[in-house]
Amino acid sequence: MADLASPQRRSALEGVLVPGDFGATPFNGPGILLSERGPLSVVQIEAGTEDLTAAAGNALGIAPSGMPNEAAGTGRPRILGTGTGRWLISEPEGRDLAAHLRASLPESAAVTGLSHARVCLRLSGRDARTLLAKGCGIDIHPDAFRPDTSRMTSLFHCAALIDCRSAEPVYDIYVHRSYAVHLFEMLLDGALEFGCRVA
């Protein structure tokens, strides 16, 4: 039997996300940069009735925001509000995040590992907003969708969590794994007119 020592995670986009420049070639370089972030640890925590904020803050070293749609943290970890009393925590794979949280949070909190359930695409470039506007009905104007806020919404008819990382703009898009290829293809197709660098 083969060596079972360190199994490699296989991205949902393997063979589909191929680095390179695609589409138009504007003189000032591609308007869209698209890449996959990973491997990530992603965990959902959900409170019952009581407030988890403090406990989660202790466990993660950053206080999650109690405000809807707000994000906190630099990415190691990043905490995204996804519903009333519910957060999604993501960080580059390393420690067993779910176990850590399970151990640190009160028992009433539900901790669900979603590291493999989500694919995270990073979208940036000067035409990133326009590309999002093609497939997404929320207002992505920089005044309306600010850095360190996130949105759960529909992107090209896929449920997606869009995290605005910076005003440049840079977005992290979390999508359900089984839809990742479709979403990637739609984004790439929509990006061709701007020139798209896939990395």
């Binding site: 296989r10 959900e46 539900a110 669900t112 093609k134 089984s178 290829v181």
Partner: protein
């Protein structure tokens, strides 16, 4: 060498917005012409002296270019060819490009000699609604229809794929201004200056609106200078989005504007990676409708000949396009527009032979200017007849008063090739009306103007009947400021309205129709496209079709591609006269989107072809493809149907062989299948067991940690919703599986129950369908394979019994093992985090190599589960109760569960309801098709009483060596051992079958528990 000028005999030598330095070659009906950049197809054809451009819908009458905008009823052409052919395209809105190709339509063999023109001779028979009164007898309408359909329709479409692509875009705005004429430009500038997010939308290639077509001035300079400066200022504002070549086609709920941007329609073909059109969906806080007004024609005998044209269009051709719409013109208008037109046309070098003004007195300043130029003015008169066939040759005019009195007036013939007519302007209230806004009649302009707003819209300028330039500018300025201010944007002091130098205009005279000359069968057209004449309106009225809506539907008034932009109001005016009513009481028909027709492709955007819907892939998708799987849709998912082995070529026989091979492998050795598509729900919380107890029909309070249980759920109406296993992972932690099809609905069902009905329960649910890759390893050798894969786990029956659950790891990969079985074999389901799915799967394959392990697809799975009488969506089909499906015994009587009350209704608990049974052919070999109906006697003539149906079928159970099926049979459980007929009259088949228990393989379940 291009000698543009000589080839364009109607082109004026200077002026206009055209680029004379950019001649463009194009073809119309096979002939080559030259036009200029800035032309429309219509203006270029006129410049070349082409007047006949189409044939009408019903009578195939020769028709010419009638307007210069979206209201065009006549000049519809086939644009482009092959996959890009677009029938019914308005020549007035086609921007000319080099290489443009267009053909006239609705004629045979050609435009000049259209044999269908005989319809015109028969016109007295082909009046409104003639078809309702005949064609009733044999051989039936479908026969006659064949000919009617051929004659009807306008353009022809090809069944060739469209090579272009489309896009969609969302926009969000504080203020959307629709129309970039003077009112819209002024409004956008004011609003933009406050910092509000503004969209300014115009259907034309550039802003300006009517200013482009008129000889107006603003602040002492040509009005277009003001427009261009305003546009430049707007372009400098980051908060303003200017969309030209963009039609706002509809006003929808939530102040959402649907618009289509024609990105590449002015080009021969889209540039690489560019779309043809982009569909916008713009959410606005406020909408300013500066959509202008549409001129309407006058209705008189012969008003449809090529050469008769709207006065405003004739001005537009002269001013914007530097084209003479004719060499010698007569003008007929009921307002001062007639004089304005005379001046503009004369200025353009056209020989204006007379202005026919039905009014007597009441004219303004413009008349004097016309008189001063020596142009003949005839007051109190009307055009009563036109001459010419393929083009206008002249008009007869007569005294209106005499005509109205019914006496025969004296007529005067004036030769001309252009008759410019203006019957007043109708505000474009379309968008205002889309959300049930009701326009109201304004007698001063004899037109409907916007009524009370239903949405956050405000109409400005000509769109609300303010027709002077000064009013339009003032309206725009006020609206732009006030609207922005209303939204909380700071406004400065009010700017002065730019100065205009418009002459005072005279009064307007309502004239719906010029009476026919006594004794003449007048052909006075109201709707030029659909050939609805004034006489048709009167006929409809006399037959009782007196509502405007009946009039429309009986005569087809306003139902063409122009939606009656030029015709509705005249038709309604004539109806009002016929009914002796006020037109205000007659009302209008309903304005519906789209404002102008929109390509269907634009609504789909990129969601077409294989992207029409998302495809969901399991983690092992690529492995399946690389290993011979034939994939098949299962909802949005793709799943392996069966696997061909290396060297096998796809064929029916190879497929059958593969299915048998896979089925036998599971029964005799082992098989592995990808079950990742099953819905998976993580359930946590102190009340999780109570929750499961409420949603499943069976009890859940006693399930031990490390154990799974099969459960069935009902809908609230008592019908079975779904089945699956749920495992207890921890004290307050469960893992539920659902069927592939019901994963979404079940998840939502649970969420709604928890959030709405049982918020007091401490339960959290999360979908983990995507988190886990799942594979079933089934067959007598599965234990050996599992033991090899998980050397540290004891797979003995005692240690790991049926329905046992273990959390462990597969060489570093976290794994959950469930001893559950759909195939009825000794079987295990392994779930691993999805990114490890392929790795785990490959390890299984490797571990199974010595044990005869084969991957199996949906087909084999189907056979295996039918052998075991296991139900799927074919049985849990939304019509059956748990009792029907054989789960009656599972329904707990000790607790309440969703659906219990409704399942207790008389009709749902009736013992004679259909019940799940097995069916096997008496002869042991004839296949029983799924979809067969069960009857007592196949020879009964219809209507035949039905006993049930065959829900699932395997043409061959390789394990039993015969076909097997499942079915739902009335009173089925009492009929086991009896025979019934499975009939399939669609294929003339009838199979006598024996009713059996649903399980026909390993009835005792020895293999499962082995």
């Amino acid at each position: 060498m291009i000698r543009g000028k000589e080839q364009q005999p109607f082109r004026i030598s200077s002026g206009g917005e055209i680029e004379r330095t950019q001649p463009l070659g194009f073809r119309f009906d096979g002939k080559n012409y030259i036009g200029y950049q800035g032309d429309t197809l219509a203006s270029a054809l006129l410049a070349n002296g082409v007047r006949l451009v189409g044939r009408s819908f019903k009578y195939h009458r020769p028709r010419g270019i009638y307007s210069a905008g979206p209201e065009e009823p006549n000049a519809l052409v086939h644009l482009r060819s092959g996959g890009r052919q677009e029938p019914n395209t308005r020549a007035t809105q086609i921007e000319l490009f080099a290489g443009l190709e267009a053909k006239s339509q609705n004629r045979w063999p050609n435009l000049k000699l259209d044999l269908m023109g005989v319809n015109d001779l028969a016109s007295r028979f082909l009046v409104a609604g003639f078809y309702y009164k005949t064609f009733m007898g044999l051989p039936g309408w479908h026969f006659y229809e064949h000919f009617i359909r051929k004659a009807a329709g306008m353009g022809a479409a090809e069944h060739i794929p469209d090579p272009d692509s489309y896009d969609k875009m969302h926009g969000h705005a504080d203020i959307v201004v629709i129309g970039a004429g003077p009112a819209g430009l002024a409004a956008a500038l004011q609003a933009g200056e406050t910092g509000a997010r503004v969209f300014l939308i115009d259907e034309n290639d550039r802003p300006g609106g009517r200013l482009r077509a008129e000889q107006e001035s603003i602040d002492g300079r040509p009005a277009m200078d003001w427009a261009n400066e305003t546009v430049a200022a707007l372009q400098d504002m980051e908060n303003v989005t200017l969309l030209t070549r963009t039609t706002a086609f509809g006003y929808y709920d939530g102040d959402t504007i649907g618009a289509v941007e024609r990105v590449s329609d002015h080009l021969l073909a889209p540039a690489p990676y560019k779309v043809r059109q982009r569909r916008w969906l713009i959410h606005a806080k406020r909408v300013l409708l500066a959509t202008g007004a549409t001129e309407r024609p006058l209705v008189f005998d012969g008003n449809d000949r090529p050469g008769v044209m709207l006065a405003g269009a004739a001005r537009a051709y002269a001013t914007r396009f530097a084209v003479q719409a004719g060499k010698s013109a007569v003008i007929f208008a009921n307002s001062d527009d007639g004089y304005r037109t005379a001046l503009d046309l004369a200025y353009a070098g056209i020989d204006v032979r007379g202005v026919i003004d039905p009014r007597t007195g009441g004219q303004g300043e413009l008349k004097d200017r016309v008189a001063a130029r020596g142009i003949d003015i005839v007051e109190g008169a009307a055009v009563v007849r036109t001459h010419g066939y393929l083009g206008l040759a002249g008009v007869d005019i007569a005294d209106l008063e005499t005509l109205r009195s019914g006496r025969m007036p004296e007529t005067r013939f004036i030769p001309c090739d252009l008759l410019a007519t203006g019957g007043g302007w109708s505000p474009n209230v379309h968008l205002h009306s889309h959300q049930s806004g009701r326009p109201v009649f304004d007698p001063a302009i004899a037109a409907f103007v916007p009524g009370a707003s239903r949405m956050n819209d405000r109409s400005i300028g000509a769109a609300r009947g303010r027709f002077s330039l000064a009013e339009c500018l003032a309206d725009g300025i006020a609206a732009g400021r006030e609207t922005a201010q209303g939204l909380g944007f700071p406004v400065g002091s009010s700017p002065a309205t730019p100065a205009t130098d418009e002459p005072a205009t005279g009064s307007f005279m309502t004239l719906w129709q010029v009476p026919a000359l006594p004794g003449r069968k007048a052909r006075s057209f109201v709707d030029l496209q659909d050939d609805v004449a004034a006489s048709d309106v009167k006929l409809a009225e006399s037959e009782g079709y007196v509502s405007v809506e009946h009039l429309k539907r009986y005569t087809t008034l306003g139902m063409g591609t122009d939606q009656g932009k030029t015709s509705n109001i005249n038709g309604h005016g004539i109806l009002a006269e016929a009914r002796g009513m006020d037109i205000a009481a007659v009302g209008t028909t309903t304005f519906r989107p789209p404002y102008t027709p929109v390509a269907i492709g634009a609504f789909a955007g990129r969601e077409r072809g294989r992207h029409a819907h998302p495809v969901r892939r399991t983690p092992m998708h690529d492995w399946h493809l690389a290993n011979g799987a034939k994939m098949i849709e299962a909802g949005l998912w793709m799943r392996p149907q069966y696997y061909l082995q290396p060297g096998e070529t796809p064929s029916r026989a190879a497929m059958d062989e593969a299915i048998i091979r896979e089925t036998l492998a599971v029964r005799n050795a082992a098989g592995i299948s990808d079950v990742s598509t099953l819905g998976k729900i993580d359930i946590q919380g102190a009340d999780a067991a109570e929750f499961l107890n409420r949603v499943y029909i069976n009890g859940w309070k006693t399930l031990a940690i490390g154990k799974a249980r099969y459960g069935v759920m009902l809908r609230e109406d008592g019908i079975a919703l779904d089945d699956g296993t749920t495992s207890r992972i921890g004290e307050n932690h469960y893992y539920m599986t659902t069927t592939t099809a019901e994963a979404g609905p079940v998840m939502q069902h649970l969420e709604v129950l928890l959030q709405v009905h049982w918020p007091d329960l401490d339960v959290k649910v999360a979908s983990v369908t995507d988190e886990w890759a799942a594979m079933a390893i089934a067959g007598p050798n599965s234990r050996a394979i599992l033991s090899a894969l998980f050397p540290n786990t004891d797979f003995s029956n005692d240690a790991f019994p049926f329905m046992g659950v273990r959390e462990t790891d597969l060489g570093g990969i976290p794994a959950r093992i469930f001893r559950i079985s759909f195939s009825g074999e000794l079987a295990y389901e392994i779930a691993v985090p999805a990114d490890y799915g392929t790795a785990a799967w490959e390890r299984c394959i490797e571990a199974g190599a010595g044990h005869g392990l084969l991957p199996y697809g949906m087909e084999a799975l189907g056979i295996l589960r039918i052998e075991k009488g296991h139900v799927t969506v074919s049985e849990i089909d939304g019509r059956h109760t748990a009792g029907d499906l054989g789960f009656g015994g599972m329904m707990s009587t000790k607790k309440r569960f969703v659906g219990d009350a409704m399942a207790a209704r008389e009709g749902m608990a009736d013992p004679s309801r259909p019940a799940l049974v097995g069916l096997t052919p008496l002869d042991g070999k004839t296949r029983i098709r799924a979809g067969s109906v069960l009857v007592a006697d196949p020879k009964t003539p219809p209507p035949v009483p039905k006993l049930g149906h065959v829900s699932s079928s395997a043409y061959l159970s390789p394990n039993l060596g015969r076909p097997i099926s499942l079915g739902m049979l009335k009173g089925g459980r009492e009929r086991i051992g009896e025979t019934v007929w499975a009939v399939f009259p669609l294929r003339n088949e009838a199979v006598e079958c024996r009713v059996t228990a649903p399980v026909v393989y390993d009835e005792e379940g020895a293999r499962l528990h082995g």
